[in-house]
Amino acid sequence: MPIKTENMPNTNKTFFEAEIDKIYESGPFSRQMYLQVRQSKHFMELYYMNKLELDDLANAAFLSRFHYVRVFKRMYGLTPRVYLRNLRLNKAKDLIKNGISITTVCFDIGYESPSTFSSVFKKCTGYSPKEYQQLHSAI
C-alpha cells in the first residue's frame, strides 16, 4: 500500500520506491555510463562462445581497460571475467540439461579445453559436468 513520508509530499510512491529513486539519483554513475557498461555485458551475452579479450569488452563500453574493470565491478559486484565465466556456465547447464554431449558443450560455450571446462564447472556448481548430466537425466 503506498504511504507518504516526510520527504515524499504529494506522491503515491511507497517508501521502498522512493528509496530506490534516491539511491539511483544520487549514485556515482550517469545513466550514460550505465548504458555503456550494459552494452559490454550485452556483448558478452552475444559472443560468449568466442574467445573474448578484455580489450573487446572495454571497447564495447567505450572505456579504457582499467576504468572498465573498475566500473563494471562497482556496478555488478563482480569482475567482467567472473561474469563471463558464470554466463558460460549457465549456458553449459542449459545445454547439458538438453542432452548435448559434454565435449560439444565445452566448445560451444567458448572453452578451448575440456579439462579446464570440467574443473571450472565442478568448482562453481559442486558437480562435474558428467554428474550434472546424470542428475538431470534422472528428473
Binding site: M1, T14, Y34
Partner: protein
C-alpha cells in the same frame, strides 16, 4: 561443506500460497511433508529443480506478523525473484489478476517491479540489464 538449500517466506495460508506460487507465478511444488497442523512445503523454479527451495512457511509467530505488516505498509519486498524478461512477465501476471505496487522501472543495472503475493508479502521481480 555447507550449502544453502532453502530460503523461506512467511505466508498467512499455506494452501493459498501454494496455489499462488505454482499456478500464478509458475513454480513447481517440491516437498510437502505434514508437520503438526502445518506442512514443510517448498517450491522450486522449473529451470532450477535442483536449486534452492522456497519454503512457504506458515505465519504463526505474533512478533513476525508485526514485522511482515510493517514491511508491507512501506512497500518493501520481502524477497526477490529473477526473470528473463520483466515486461513480458509483468504483462502475463497482470492478465492473471496480480496486483503490482510498482510497475517495471529501470534502476542502474537492473529493471525491477514489485507484486503482491496475496499472502501478506510484496515480492520484487528483477531483470538484470
Amino acid at each position: 561443506m555447507l550449502k544453502i538449500y532453502v530460503t523461506s517466506i512467511h505466508v498467512d495460508n499455506q494452501e493459498k500460497a501454494l496455489n499462488f506460487y505454482t499456478k500464478i507465478l509458475g513454480f513447481i511444488k517440491k516437498n510437502e511433508v505434514p508437520l503438526g497442523e502445518h506442512k514443510w512445503l517448498t517450491v522450486v523454479s522449473p529451470d532450477e529443480q535442483l536449486g534452492v527451495e522456497l519454503l512457504l512457511e506458515p505465519m504463526t509467530f505474533e512478533p513476525a506478523k508485526v514485522y511482515q505488516k510493517a514491511l508491507k505498509e512501506a512497500g518493501i519486498p520481502c524477497t526477490s525473484f529473477e526473470v528473463d524478461d520483466l515486461e513480458r512477465e509483468f504483462e502475463r501476471l497482470k492478465l492473471l489478476g496480480v496486483q503490482f505496487s510498482m510497475s517495471p522501472k529501470e534502476a542502474g543495472t537492473v529493471k525491477i517491479a514489485v507484486l503482491d503475493d496475496t499472502c501478506g508479502n510484496y515480492i520484487q521481480l528483477m531483470q538484470q540489464l
